[in-house]
Every structure is written in structure tokens, then in C-alpha cells.
Symmetry: C2
Subunit: 271 residues, 2 copies
């Protein structure tokens, strides 16, 4: 089996930690990269966040997250675009490999899926020049179809690549195996993506799954062939990090040090 | 808006009723068709089930369900194939418009998704001649990707159509809007399907959704553009029933007569 890319910690995996604590914990556990969420960065202050990550000697595999473009009215959509511009500036300051884009679901009360998808396209178009100017790649992340109503009308890698085809330079794809493992078109889509893959996230699909958002599994505890997906990504030319992102009511109850030990063990065993 | 096809009651919507009770309730509520589950048919006895449905003057839009092919060992797969042969015989006896096929998920403990898909193809191949001989169409039903691990490795309409292309006569597709509404390729897939659509099921996607299996909504209570999907199906040549199938811990607590009144009201209002 081909060696995986360097491990990165998505901070939501240990969400009780501050950014400084998470960065220090990464250094202590030998995790060479981090992907912070914006709320954690903002709680620290951007300059402090940059310093804490640099002091810990970490690469930044991404910033979570931009997107959330659809809204019921023009003011809401404009506010989302402004928020994305701030996210781009933060990603630039952090030296992030990409800004992870969770594009958003249907506006409240709406059944207009094509309309929401158009709001996403319009939103990306509005921020693309800012992203290019800042040297920040917008990594469009397809989310599991069970999140289509409330989080992401972008559901498949092919759909993300259609947007990349449309927008070109400055766009790419973030592939989270949890969201796309089921897709019968996944292998072909990864080949199609080639070097446009800008991030790879891992966690696992548990059987049974008790919650649509907060019951992701530790890699190895579920049914996803993570190594198989990694092999496809590597064959397509991906050479970036393997980012462990686990939203889990079960793991959030554990001591963060224990969680990070298990993350490192599983990183060593699932590939 | 084009008028919808005739309403059919999937018996799991009122799962506390026997088949006779469900058939009589359909007649009383002016519902012209029914789709029974096999356990309900077997509890009544096949001959009694045939008689109860005939006495109530109902068409049979389908029989739920065949499939569930993947298994950990050859004996398990052979048993599944035999079970499907019995389901075909029952569908024939009932004069069902199709046998709805929920193909099955990963075998217990397996991460081999291509392997499970091959078991599904092998299973269909094994029963196809029986289905053709009985004049029973196998309606392959893509299930929502959140069921991929434990219920259906068949996740999209296009994937179902690939199987139809492979197997031809005797196969078709069952489209449940709950399972496929999110799919960016849905419109094209329905056009591709044409008259191979053999069943149309309705219920709704609730926001939030509390359970991956048993929290489906009454049509109109969620975000699915049911009328829009119906229009696409009709344009593709579908002229069959509109079957209301609601697996819901919330609605199962209600009086079945009340549930059926609401089903009829929503059938009249969502299209």
C-alpha cells in the first residue's frame, strides 16, 4: 500500500481545545499539519493564530470554511459573500493550502434546488477574483447527500468538478471520504479531478449511524475503504495531507489527548 | 401542473393494519391502488391477500420487496436468491406492476463496495429468467446514499439504469423522490430512463431529519419538489401510480384513518 500523505488535524476533532492548545498538541503528538475552523481562529485572534501555528512548526492543510452562499434574500447573499472575503483573507494570512468550501443548502422554506445551486455559482463567481489575488484556492467540498437540504447542495465530486471546469484557476476539490465513499462514480471522478484535488479528509461511516451530522467514526471503526480511496487519489496525482476531521458526540466526550493518540494510531493502521 | 398518476398506498405507511384492513381502508378512502410489503402478505396468506385486494377493487402498484443479495458467504447469497424467487412468485400471484428491489448493503464487517455491487449483479442475473417467465418486472430502487452500508449499494438512478442496460427485458427502475431528490444528475437520468420507470414513490425530506430510516415526512412537510419530479417523470413517459410510502416513527403513532386522510389531502395538494 502506498504511504499516505502527512497527517493533519482538523481542529473540530478536538473542539474543546483552543487553537494554541490544538497546535501544541499537534507538535507533541508528531502531527505535522493542522486545519483550523474559523471560529477557533477568531477566538484566538488572527495574528495570535498565525503565531501559534508557526511556533508549533505546523503546515496548514486548509481553513474551514467558506461557502454557505444561499439565502432567502439579496441582503443575506451579499452578507455571505462578504463573509467569504474575510475567510479568504484569513486563509491567506494563515498560509492555508486551501479554503474549504461548504457551499450551503436550501434557503429556509425553499424547495428550489436549482435556484440554490445558482446562488452557489453566483457566490463563487463573486469571490473568485479575491481568492486568485490572495493566492487562496477555493476547495469545493461535496458533502453527503443527507446534508443537501441544510448544508450543501453540492453532493458529488463530479458536480464539484463541473464547477471547477466552469471557474478554472483558483478552484479545486476537497474530498472527504465520509461524504463520497458511496458514490458509484467516485473512481472515475477522482481520475477526472487529477491534481485539482486540494484536500483529503478522513473519518469513517459507522453502522449504525445515529445522527446525520455528529456521529462520524474514527478511521477504522466503520465501513469506508479509506486506503482504497487514498490509492486512487495518489494515482490521480494528489500529494497533499491526510486530514482527520471527526464530528462526533462520542469522541467529543473523550480527553483530547486520548483522541489524538487514537487518531495517530489509526493513521498508522488504516493505510 | 400535469395531473399526477393514481394514488397507491404502500402498506408500511399504516403498518399497524393487516392487509385486509389496509385494502378495505384504501377502498373507503378512494385510494385505487396498493403496494403491500411481503411480511403483510405472508401474515394474511397469499391466497387471502389476493382475494382481499381483488375484493377491494385495487390495482397493485408493486410488491415490496426483493433484493438484499449481498451476504458474507455463498450459502447466504444462495438463500437470498431463493427468497427472491419466492418474492417473484408472490408478485405474479398478486398481479403486481413490479417487484420493488432493495438490493442490499455491504455484508457484515465488509468494506468491499465493488464486491457487494458484484453480488447484486450476480443476484439479479440469477433470478432474471424467473422474473421474465412470471412476467414480473424487477424495479431496481436506488436508495439514499445514507443507506449504502446497510441497505442498498445502489444509490443513484443512473447506477440503476446501468444495470437495466446490462440486463434489459425484465428490469426497470423504481424512483422514490426521498432517495434521489438531491441528485444533480436526476433530471438527465429520468430522461435517460424513459419508460423504464416502473414505480414512483413519494414522501418528503424533513429539516431536521432525526433518523436515517424512520423519519420520512408526509408529502408537503419537507423540502422535496415532488411536483417538479413528477413533471419530469411524466415528460419521460411514466404513466403509473404515485405511491405514498412513509416510514415514520411520528406517523406510525397516529390513527391509521387519520394518516390516510392526510395522505389523500396531500396527494391533492402537492402536485
Amino acid at each position: 500500500m502506498a504511504a499516505p500523505g502527512p497527517l493533519s488535524l482538523n481542529t473540530i476533532t478536538v473542539k474543546s481545545l483552543t487553537l494554541s492548545q490544538a497546535a501544541e498538541a499537534c507538535a507533541r503528538h508528531g502531527i505535522p499539519a493542522i486545519c483550523p475552523w474559523r471560529d477557533v481562529v477568531q477566538a484566538a485572534g488572527l495574528a495570535n493564530a498565525v503565531r501559534a501555528i508557526r511556533d508549533a512548526g505546523l503546515a496548514v492543510s486548509g481553513l474551514c470554511r467558506g461557502g454557505m452562499f444561499p439565502a432567502s434574500d439579496a441582503a443575506g447573499r451579499a452578507a455571505a459573500i462578504e463573509e467569504n472575503r474575510r475567510a479568504i483573507a484569513e486563509a491567506h494570512a494563515l498560509g492555508a493550502a486551501c479554503l474549504v468550501m461548504v457551499v450551503g443548502g436550501l434557503p429556509a422554506g425553499s424547495r428550489d434546488l436549482p435556484g440554490a445551486r445558482k446562488m452557489v455559482r453566483d457566490g463563487i463567481a463573486a469571490i473568485l477574483e479575491d481568492a486568485r489575488a490572495a493566492g487562496v484556492v477555493l476547495a469545493l467540498e461535496p458533502l453527503h447527500p443527507m446534508t443537501c437540504a441544510d448544508r450543501s447542495v453540492l453532493s458529488t465530486v463530479d458536480q464539484a468538478l463541473d464547477l471547477c471546469d466552469e471557474f478554472g484557476d483558483g478552484t479545486g476539490v476537497a474530498i472527504d471520504c465520509y461524504h463520497v465513499w458511496w458514490d458509484p462514480a467516485l473512481d472515475k471522478a477522482i481520475s477526472r479531478a487529477g491534481q485539482r484535488v486540494k484536500a483529503f479528509h478522513i473519518c469513517d461511516w459507522l453502522v449504525p449511524t445515529a445522527d446525520l451530522v455528529f456521529d462520524r467514526g474514527m478511521p477504522g471503526d466503520g465501513v469506508i475503504d479509506i486506503a482504497g480511496i487514498w490509492a486512487k487519489l495518489q494515482a490521480a496525482g494528489y500529494a497533499g495531507a491526510v486530514e482527520c476531521e471527526i464530528l462526533s458526540n462520542r469522541w467529543w466526550k473523550e480527553d483530547p489527548g486520548h483522541v489524538l493518540r487514537v487518531v495517530c494510531e489509526r493513521y498508522a493502521s488504516v493505510f
